[in-house]
Amino acid sequence: MTPALEVAHLSKTFAARRGPFGLLGRRVVRAVEDVSFTVEASRTLALVGESGCGKTTIGRMVVRLAIPNAGSITVEGEDFTRLSGEALRRKRQRVQMVFQDPFACLNARMTAEAIVAEPLVNFGLGDAATRRRRVRQLFDQVGLPQTFLDRLPHHMSGGQRQRLGIARALAAKPAVIVADEAVAALDVSIRSQILNLLKDLQRETGVAYLFISHDLSVVRYLADEIAVMYLGRIVEKGPVRSVFDTPAHPYTQALIGAIPASHPRERRRRALLDGEVPSAAALPIGCPFRTRCPLATDICSREPPPLVTVRHGHAAACHHIHANEMTTGGTTT
């Protein structure tokens, strides 16, 4: 079966001109570098990492709000990056997005019904009567009362607006939904409701999620697989359980170590990171993480580490995986 979403060797650079009229040349920021991953239908891949690590850029490229410099994004077997014009517009039906800010992503002048109906109208799905029924069905699916149909977004709460945004993303029955920090702007009490809603909807519709988040506890609850990013590269990816239980990359270990424990007895010895994230415009040669890595040796400053398989489906990009695993592997979480 073709996967819902297949991303291969994706790269994105941003060039910023320096000095007046760009006289001082260009500063190239490598936002995303050679990123590959696959998401099957009914599965969720979480992209995690610190802010500025390129995860949002990947999400924007997947929905074609940004254009990659290299690599391919294949949606249900068709290369999304090669499409343009009307073909691109039609293909957008298969890839929808849930935005981070439930206030900014809804047109304040449109009623809730018009917002959810918009993709149906744009993609020419059904006549007016069918669309009316579909919008009402979507309202039920996301748990919005029918009385909200002609409300304006600013007469709704944050959680209600996010439900509306989810209904809009679902309306055209996409194969993939990119959720960029979809619950980060919500109250903690609302957050779990929305996460459960996303899970239920996936079970009902078989949609694949690319879930972008910096919140590891959310990721652990929702995702099947996880890809950890650092400075535009994937440093570790694998099934959620495997990555959380036996993180192989020192960066992942530090991230997981930073999750607050729910009980004092569960507190682990934390491997906290020193230093700052290097600028994406001046990456260290070799392994990008070596400037903050407790295990860094000579080889790390010479060669960038390849992504190697640690165990089934679980890979990490580190020269010292095996040495590292012996000391910290098997930590209970």
Binding site: R89, R109, P119, R151
Partner: protein, 301 residues
């Protein structure tokens, strides 16, 4: 009235289900500025449209009864050749308001098109905007005098002369609004939802820019009326045989101490229309900003 709103807690009643008349009354009571300014403007528009029936011939001379003050028979008095200032002020409203509307519409249409091409499609953005800067450097009065000297005075020439220097201001403002709006998450959402270019522009971007465009258009309307008056005053505008507020003021200037009503009535008309148009622009701007809209009872953002 507040009670009816709070009892209807779904917020539906606010948008629908109230009779038009009741909503109008409620609206005017809540917005006296809007009511007064649009009332004045509508009055002048009606006067301008109906002047052939309301007013007599503005060109009838009556030298024996010249420079007479306002009276029961001549409401606004007479000018230096005995013409009725009332008739001429009413006829003059046609020119002033006509030029105002024509310039406001021309400027808005061309300015919005130029602003969208530069700001949304980013086609030749730098070239277009530098050209607009160059046009903006032309003083309207000089352009008008040059055009009138070149091709003679006609309404079309006056409207063109006043519109051309106003277009860059509108285009620049539209471009700035569009540049901001195209980056908004809801516009990006519309793109991912498969919106075609016209739907994104018409449903998502232009409504967001409508407030500033409308305010700018009312400003253009007001300043076009003033400019037309200035041009007529200088003799480069409406020909002297057609009464306009500008050339009436020019003629009345010479008799200001003797017969201030000749200048006073057209000046009052101009001031009232310009003021009400400007006030209307401010009110519209507030009304078109959805974040300032009254919220449904019990639900605040």
């Amino acid at each position: 009235m507040a009670i009816t709103v709070s009892s209807d807690s779904t917020g539906r009643g606010l948008a629908r289900g109230r009779s038009l008349a009741a909503r109008t009354v409620r609206f005017v009571a809540h917005r006296p500025v809007l009511a007064v300014s649009s009332g004045i403007l509508l009055l002048f528009v009606a006067v301008a449209l109906l002047s052939p029936w309301l007013a007599g011939d503005p060109g009838t001379l009556n030298p024996p009864r010249r420079l007479k003050p306002p009276s029961a028979t001549q409401w606004f008095g007479t000018d230096h050749v005995g013409r009725s200032v009332f008739d001429r002020t009413l006829w003059g409203a046609r020119i002033s308001l006509g030029v105002g509307f024509a310039v406001a519409i021309t400027t808005t249409v061309v300015g919005v098109l130029v602003g969208i091409v530069a700001g949304y499609f980013r086609l030749a953005d730098t070239v277009i905007m530098r050209a607009m800067d160059a046009v903006m450097a032309i003083p309207a009065i000089l352009l008008a005098i040059a055009l009138v000297a070149l091709v003679g005075s006609s309404p079309l020439v006056i409207v063109t002369a006043i519109s051309v220097p106003e277009i860059p201001r509108m285009a620049r403002m539209v471009r700035a609004s569009v540049l901001v709006l195209r980056e908004q998450a809801y516009v990006e959402a519309a793109i991912t939802c498969g919106g075609r270019v016209h739907s994104i522009l018409l449903r998502h971007i232009l409504p967001g820019a409508a407030g500033p465009i409308l305010v700018q258009a009312t400003y253009v309307f007001a300043s076009a009326m003033i400019l037309e008056a200035i041009l007529s005053f200088l003799g480069a505008g409406t020909p002297p045989n057609v009464p306009s507020w500008g050339n009436m003021m020019a003629e009345g200037r010479q008799y200001l101490q003797l017969a201030p009503w000749i200048l006073g009535f057209p000046a009052l008309g101009l001031a009232l229309v310009v003021l009400s148009v400007n006030l209307l622009g401010d009110v519209w701007r507030d009304m078109l900003d959805p974040s300032l809209a009254p919220s449904a009872a019990g639900v605040t953002r």
